[in-house]
Amino acid sequence: MIELVGILAAHAVPAERTAEAMHCGALAAAVREVEPRSSLCGRAGHHAAVVGWCRVADFLPARAGTPVTDDLLARIARDSRRHLARLAQVAGSIEIVVEVEGPAPGRTEAAVGGASYLRAAAQHRAGIEAGLAAARGQVEACAAAFGAQLAHCPTVPGARGREMSLLVRRAAAPRLATELERALATLPAGFARRISGPWPPYSFASSGDVA
C-alpha cells in the first residue's frame, strides 16, 4: 500500500527525494510504501518519515495509514491554496504537547456508600474540572507570552485528563517548555503533567486527509 506521509510545496522537494513525492499542482504529496496491515512499527515508521521530511522542508504531516488514491491527490491539488497557507503558518515552528491528568478517585471513596459516596464523587469530579481549567488557563497565558498558537482542544465532559498542543517558533520553544513546566508545577497535588516535544506540527496540519 502507498501511504501519504504529508504535504509540502512542490518546489521544496529536494532533487534526491523526487522519487518519494507525487506532484499535485503547486504541492507535492510525500509518500511511502508500507505493509497493508497497520501496526505499532508502521506508526513509528510513519513518524520517522514525517520527521525526515520536516528536516528538509516546511511540512504538513498526514495521519498514519492514509492510502494514496487518485481522488486524494486531486483533492490535495484542489485545496492547494489552503494547504499553502497552512505551510506558511507552520514554517519554522514545532509542536509542544502538554498532557495534564487529575488524580484517580481514591479507594476510600469507593468504600463508602449511598449519599456519602455520591457527594465524594461529585467533589472529586469538581476538583478535577477546576484543576484542568486552571491548567488550560496557565497554558493559554504561556502561549500568549511566547506568541505560540494553541490548537483547538474541546473540553470532554467527565474526562480526567486533557491534552493541549502549542505551535511555537523553534527558537522560542525551549524557553516556552521551561515556562510551561514552571507554571504547571503550581497545579494541585495529585495532578500529573507531561510536556513533550519537539514534535512535527501534527495538530496544526489541517483536518481531513492531513493530520
Binding site: S39, L40, C41, R43, A44, H47, A48, V51, C54, R55, I94, I96, P105, A110, L118, A121, A122, R125, G158, P174, A177, E181, R194, I195, S196, G197, P198, W199, P200
Partner: protein, 83 residues
Amino acid sequence: MTWRNDVDFLEPAHLSHGSLLELLNRLLDRGVLVWGDLRISVAGVELIEIGLKVMLVSTETAERWRAHSLVPRPQRTAEASGA
C-alpha cells in the same frame, strides 16, 4: 518532562522508557501482563469496578511455554520408573 532541547524532533528512540518498539518486542518475545482496574461510570458516578489481569503473548512464545510445561519433571520420571 519529555521535552528534549538536544534533538530537533522527538522520535520513538528518544523515549527510553517503554517506547513503542520496546513494548512490541517485549510483547512478542516475552509477553506482557496487564494488571489494572476497569471502572464503569455513568454521568461521572462509578457503578462497577472490575479487576483485570490479562496476559498478552505471541502464539509462538505461548507454544514455547506450553511445550516447556509438558516436559516431565525429574521427580515424576523417577516416580514413574520406580513404579
